[in-house]
Symmetry: C2
Subunit: 315 residues, 2 copies
């Protein structure tokens, strides 16, 4: 299996410039458990990192295939990302989302001109493949593709440029595209840094898989329990192979810790994070004993939280 | 009366580098009423722009005076700013705050090692002068000082660097230090841009003063009505003289518009803004008819909102 390289990530960086925002790396002065920077991917145009991988994958398509259009399935942010990428190229996009997706994400996707199809969470992948077949669309997967991984990896490039002496990088893990890409970049550019994935306890399949040495399947209904609705997927063979190479470990965080991290990010960092996007900060806040001491970057992967949920966490 | 110049602002920029964050200027893709960038001063270490002016003023003091310490009065964010600036120099700080100040701001100030004195809002200035006299401290005013104005002006330098063809700049106005400084920088570097102050309707003394041609006093109890607790001051002779020079107008926004802007900033821009910090965005959202069309920057001046208030706005 060929893994994504730093050269693939550099190529992706050239493609996405002008579409993805180069998000700020924000030093936190309140953080008294060791120096902390937040990579604020919640400040991307779509409110999440997913635009990087989706746009890179669409940009890499041969022109005739691209013109026929794309289809994507997603728990939410990849949906918006694929829709925006298609809009940029002026091509059709069909987005398959689980019917449990927060309204805020469904509406944001439709607002970008995409056709949105809602299906039960277990059927989203098969429905997307069927649509691709029927309509001649190219499937843009949320994580299981080298171009998607390379696109997400551009975050690692930016971290290495902005903080070359970073010592610890904390990255949410779901399907693993984000951690695969960032980990690959950090390994290449900051070889002394330690890279950790972060998962909810309720969707800790990657922690178990890396411990046992091979990918494990958790029932989708189990994974659907976590409040971190963006972290309910699990790695593919491709991303798992990357994670084995690039991760020094996985930290698991509880639901209460995720909620507390959303609150801390809002009140201390003045950033709105969705639960998935707050997990890396939760690891910093509540699991220092499992992490090396040092200059730490937590990736805040997204900010698309339902306002009512944010209100309940703050109130 | 000598007004602050672009050279003063450049000097301030050199002093505050390494203490104040160079905050990101964030392009907003959701903004369908014309191109919008947010200058995210809520992402400063203290959650507000005030560190720029306070640090510049402390840094500019002669060494013997600085060693005796400083005193400041403030509705909140300047308090934290003066405390942090003093801590950086290792000198004593006494902060006088109105007894109506949100707890989040009082606690943040004390956490920086300052002595906090709470007094009725009308007495904060006199109390600060009395403390300065008694203890030999230097008063660092929240806005009525050339070094404070020059420090806030560094925001304008950054806007001009990041978006040289900016056409409209929207700035919250209270005591007027922020708008005086930014306006001076924009006038010098982007002479074609229009610069507007933004005030709550309930504290619209500057709008009235510029209309009538001279500074007006509104009763402090009237100004205390607005939810924008950072915008309850009014200009001094010094800042009013600057505002006459640099503002093309003042837009006033309602309390409902301020609340709505806090919500939009959280849900669309993923930024936590305090009410005062959301007023410029409110002008963009709800008063387009009073503003020129064009590439617009709204300054999000701060993010220190009580979590319960943010929850009530989102819920």
């Amino acid at each position: 299996m060929r893994l994504v390289t730093i050269d693939d990530i550099r190529t992706a960086a050239g493609r996405i410039a002008g579409t993805a925002i180069r998000t700020p790396l924000l030093e936190q002065q309140w953080a008294d458990q060791g120096p902390l920077w937040l990579k604020a991917e919640n400040l991307q145009g779509i409110g999440a990192f997913k635009i990087r991988g989706a746009y890179n994958a669409v940009a890499a398509l041969p022109e005739p295939a691209r013109q026929r259009g794309v289809v994507a399935y997603s728990s939410g942010n990849h949906a918006q990302a694929a829709a925006v990428a298609a809009k940029r190229f002026g091509i059709p996009a069909v987005i398959v989302v689980p019917d449990s997706t927060p309204r805020v994400k469904v509406e944001a996707t439709a607002a970008h001109g995409a056709e949105v199809v809602e299906v039960p969470i277990g059927e989203r992948e098969s429905a997307a493949y069927a649509l691709a077949e029927e309509r001649g669309l190219t499937l843009i997967p949320p994580f299981d593709h080298p171009d998607v991984i390379a696109g997400q990896g551009t975050i690692g490039l930016e971290i290495a440029e902005d903080l070359p002496d970073v010592e610890v990088v904390l990255i949410p893990v779901s399907g693993g595209g984000l951690a695969s890409g960032i980990g690959t970049a950090i390994r290449a550019l900051c070889p002394d840094a330690k890279v950790f994935g972060v998962e909810p306890e309720l969707a800790a399949d990657t922690a178990e898989g890396l411990r046992t040495g091979s990918r494990v399947d958790w029932p989708v209904d189990d994974r659907a329990r976590t409040i971190a609705d963006g972290l309910r997927s699990q790695p593919s063979e491709l991303t798992f192979a990357h994670l084995r190479e690039v991760l020094d470990g996985v930290v698991t965080v509880s639901e209460d810790e995720i909620r507390a991290a959303v609150r801390v990010l809002a009140t201390r960092a003045h950033l709105v994070a969705e639960p998935s996007g707050a997990t890396a900060a939760a690891a910093y806040l509540f699991h220092r004993e499992q992490l090396p001491v040092g200059r730490t970057v937590a990736v805040v992967s997204g900010g698309n939280i339902d306002p009512a949920l944010l209100a309940s966490i703050l109130g």
